[in-house]
């Protein structure tokens, strides 16, 4: 076994067992068939805050992100153990309906993936299937509010019936965020949300993330160290399936305590 899998996680002061915890993770491991992809991850993710997961490709950060809304359920041979609680409720409990869970844990992917429907229907889809609106007026209100929160309303209010796929990449990503917000999520997961966007579209998404954190718990996976530094308050570094170090973003980027974190963020051979 590589020592990455046996050494304990380094927690910066107050980054475990603090107050206002939205997601409490204890000893979560994930295997795909014979291959173990994640080793005993324990982590507290604060509410109304942005937490960044960083680490090289294959380090387990996306696997871990997928535990939050049980996306690993959809993969044959995937086994998840340990405890992952959102607001104290166990996500892996059999009684939990993954469809309902995924409404409260929204996800934004690397490539914007709007439905091949109108801008309006993209946002209205979730509230419709979850029965969140009792009539057309209420649905209109949810759509407008969600598009406003996603910073897209001014750009699309006069063409809500146009196809969502006709928008620019950055607008599509904000549309997808509006779609996630429309069902009142508890947590928003973002997996490399800006990697397909130009710097201006990226800046708009980052600005949006900063606004959204007033109301949501946001978790972002990013390969851009600068992006993690810009948008997050907490940063967690993963390496070879283990959580190596967690702490306030400023501390992680100025004074990482673990040499593997140091080597990764300064761009050195570890």
């Amino acid at each position: 076994m590589h020592d990455a899998q046996t050494q304990p996680t380094v927690y910066h002061k107050n980054s475990l067992g603090g107050s206002d915890i939205k997601v409490e993770v204890r000893d979560v491991s994930v295997s795909y068939g014979e291959k173990q992809a994640l080793f005993n991850v324990s982590l507290d993710i604060p509410d109304k805050s942005v937490t960044a997961f960083i680490g090289p490709s294959g380090c387990g950060k996306s696997t871990f992100l997928r535990c939050m809304n049980r996306m690993n359920d959809t993969i044959d041979g995937a086994r998840v153990s340990g405890s992952l609680k959102i607001d104290g409720a166990e996500v892996n409990d059999r009684a939990v309906d993954p469809v309902v869970l995924r409404a409260s844990v929204g996800m934004v992917f690397q490539k914007p993936n709007p439905f091949p429907k109108s801008i309006y229907d993209n946002v209205a889809y979730g509230p419709r299937i979850h029965g969140l609106a009792s009539g057309r007026d209420e649905l209109d209100a949810i759509v407008e509010q969600s598009l406003r929160k996603a910073g897209l309303w001014a750009e699309v209010s006069d063409r809500l019936q146009d196809p969502g796929t006709g928008l620019s990449g950055g607008q599509q990503q904000r549309l997808v965020i509006a779609r996630a917000i429309a069902v009142n999520p508890e947590v928003i997961l973002m997996d490399e949300p800006c990697s397909a966007l130009d710097p201006i579209a990226t800046a708009k998404i980052e600005d949006l993330i900063d606004e959204l954190r007033e109301n949501y718990c946001i978790i972002i996976v990013t390969h851009s160290m600068q992006q993690a530094a810009r948008v997050s308050q907490m940063t967690a570094f993963f390496h070879m399936g283990s959580l190596i170090e967690v702490g306030p973003t400023e501390e992680i980027f100025t004074n990482p305590l673990e040499s593997r974190t140091q080597d990764y963020i300064t761009g050195r051979f570890g």
Partner: protein, 229 residues
């Protein structure tokens, strides 16, 4: 020379950081030479080094400009993080302190010309002693800089009170002599400036020690650990 035992994946980036550290070490060496030459000029009453000091002073200034340019370039193009970030920002601070030490050394050397127009003063051996202590402080802090060693830096930082003690007693003695004998006011005023400049060099050495401490440990030195001034 690096804070991390591992090499950068982007070789050119690693080389730029190494060059910055090398340039800083060279600047330190040059400044140290300036200080020793300046004190020597005053104590030995030999102003012949002044043209050399002036020449090197221009070099020191150019090096500070060069280090600043390198640091700006690293921030703009490489966005250094963690130890690299601390090293880069510390280089900027240290270069600015070293440049000031260079200025002070030059001032001291220039005073030697004026002092030579007066008869030698008994207090010169006290000046020599203060100069030795300050030069030692500077030398040790520059050693700490090239070895990334925090212990000698802390020692230098704590030792600043020795500089201050010598400075204060020298000033007292000079003022008393001047009060006793008004003919000493002319050369005495120069000595007061020389002593003040040396004391300031000591302060810059402690600033460098603080920057080294931050660079290596990411923490500021705690002022309560330093003997009161």
């Amino acid at each position: 020379m690096a804070l991390s035992k591992h090499a950068h994946i982007v070789t050119a980036y690693g080389e730029e950081l190494d060059k910055l550290a090398d340039e800083l070490a060279r600047m330190g060496g040059l400044v140290e030479m300036q200080l020793v030459a300046a004190v020597d000029a005053v104590v030995r009453r030999d102003a012949s080094v002044v043209p050399d000091v002036r020449k090197r002073e221009a070099q020191v200034n150019a090096m500070q400009v060069d280090i600043e340019r390198r640091v700006i370039r690293l921030f703009a193009l490489r966005q250094p993080l963690a130890t690299d970030l601390r090293m880069t920002i510390s280089a900027l601070r240290i270069a600015s302190d070293l440049e000031r030490v260079g200025d002070l050394a030059k001032n001291i050397a220039y005073r030697s010309k004026d002092l030579n127009t007066f008869a030698p003063l008994a207090v010169l051996d006290r000046v020599e002693r203060l100069g030795e202590i300050v030069a030692k402080q500077l030398h040790e802090v520059l050693d700490a800089l090239s070895s990334f060693d925090v212990e000698p830096a802390i020692r230098v930082w704590r030792n600043d009170d020795e500089v201050d003690e010598h400075y204060n007693s020298l000033i007292r003695e000079m003022l008393l002599s001047m009060a006793d004998n008004p003919a000493l006011v002319g050369p005495g005023a120069h000595i007061l400036f020389v002593a003040k400049n040396l004391e300031r060099v000591g302060d810059h050495a402690t600033n460098v020690a603080e920057a080294i401490h931050y660079m290596v440990t990411a923490e500021a030195l705690d002022p309560s650990d330093q003997p009161p001034r």
